[in-house]
Symmetry: C2
Subunit: 357 residues, 2 copies
Amino acid sequence: MNKVVEFMKAEKLKPKPDPTALQFGKHFTDHMFVLDYSQDRGWHSPRIAPYEPLTLDPASLVFHYGQAVFEGLKAYRSPDGRVLLFRPEQNVKRLNDTCKRMCIPPLDEEAVLEGLKQLIEIEQDWVPDQEGTALYIRPFIVATEPYLGVRPSNAYKFLIILSPVGAYYSSEQLSPVKIYVEDEYVRAAKGGVGHVKTSGNYAASLLAQKKAQELGYDQVLWLDAKEKKYVEEVGSMNIFFKINGEVITPELNGSILKGITRQSTLELLDHWGIPVREERVSMIDLYQAYQKGELEEVFGTGTAVVISPVGELNWNGRKMVINQFKTGELSYKIYDSITNIQYGKQHDPFGWTVEIN
Amino acid sequence: MNKVVEFMKAEKLKPKPDPTALQFGKHFTDHMFVLDYSQDRGWHSPRIAPYEPLTLDPASLVFHYGQAVFEGLKAYRSPDGRVLLFRPEQNVKRLNDTCKRMCIPPLDEEAVLEGLKQLIEIEQDWVPDQEGTALYIRPFIVATEPYLGVRPSNAYKFLIILSPVGAYYSSEQLSPVKIYVEDEYVRAAKGGVGHVKTSGNYAASLLAQKKAQELGYDQVLWLDAKEKKYVEEVGSMNIFFKINGEVITPELNGSILKGITRQSTLELLDHWGIPVREERVSMIDLYQAYQKGELEEVFGTGTAVVISPVGELNWNGRKMVINQFKTGELSYKIYDSITNIQYGKQHDPFGWTVEIN
């Protein structure tokens, strides 16, 4: 490996958590990747340093005006012990798209990928090997200039932190979720920032998520801000519908996140020759398809879950139970194929996986 | 004063900046107010501590999902040396409204007001006495739990930091600003979080502000997310129009911030017997009023500026020059009355001012 990044080794390494009882995003590894930005030096001083607290002035812009962006991906342990990343260049590219919208100076994508790979190599013992586990990777940028005026910061910190995470599903069986179609709160409007991964989108989603849970639902399905007629995304996943043999997902309209699992699902369906369309999806059309018995499968896509089958949709009290609350055949097939590629269990015809060594 | 709050004095006090050359939000005082939240203890340990960096785990939720809220107000030095706050209870109340929307546990409003007053008393030498200067007060809350799941944090920090700030206008004369009516980017939608002071709203506004500045304008006028026909607010101010002797301002519709200077302006106009209405304001109606010569004055209201006269509006290339780019009589009268009350220069018939000690 090309040692372009300075490595400051932690003095004491942490004990690793029990790999059979991992939670999501609770444990962090021994080291993190750090990169600083200043006006005169640009992005500079890439390094791998001990995982430690950030020391920031209370006036740092991130605390006040939310200039903070992030990505999420995973490193997987293959049965033969290799460590694999899944389309990491897509995450780095999307991070830069997010930076552009949020007025953060762009990163050198090659250098970030190189730093990421070096960090994973150093922390490779943290990639768990139990079924369904992985090492979650969280690149993020925060505005660090101490200043209270509303304008883009002149200083930033980019970090990558790592967290070993458990299987999302407790058994081999995917568990369908119950979804509440939200008609009061709105996630994002066209012209806003819903299409990029900035922190404020997630804070804005909390109250609707709380409401859905109080009503007995797992997640929220967001509708468009303008007419509250068209499907946007689910919680923090994209959503797909199988209607009468065809697959559709909402087109990227400026308020929907461009998910990498979404994109991979589209490419996989195309590879299999299954008809798939990106288009505007209205709730009324979905409901009519449901009434005609044509709404065959519904599933979310995202890095955490890969595929999350939807067992029920509640739209203004109209309950649609999908596929008798069982995981559909296609949902399972996509889940199986993507996870097999991610874990290096089957041939990757797309060149999606990147091996760390 | 009731010494309910623990005071840890800074070992060394900072030199105070030149009061004739103060910028906005660049210098901070010697101490800050701090309050912690944990699930088992609730909000606890109120204290006034030396101004110092925050030490936060890189996984702290504020860096990832933007659960951060704030307020802004000022302490004013009267000509006879007293220190006055302007309607601070309104800020604390709005902070709690913001907390509710952002799933942050509510604060004890009385205790926060008491902490704020004690902090200002301790830092009273930092309240500048030059014409137009003040001590800017920034209460804010950030989510501190180290966790990467999307849910409300179980730990928070509430702080109040202080910054001596200069006069917004360099002379006694208010300077009219040029405003670009934004028709591409959107600030907030109904059902979102635009009506509360959460950090993500401000990060989301940066790109449009940058665009306006590149086009030669000072600020952006935001339109509604749904139809882009109706006026919302300007930059981070509310907006008022004087049309044919009557004053109108957009009604609070769920996406506009409930400004305290806005509310004070409404109460002042009412007190003077000047007709004023809160209602939906369309751009086309404004433009027609302009063409008929009835758009007499336009001004923004906000804590930083108090009143900011608008000299020009550009709506899709249609330029409206207001009152020959001069500050209107009513704009000036409101500015004069509010600032005279804030600085204790005239009788306060409303009970808006709160004197420290």
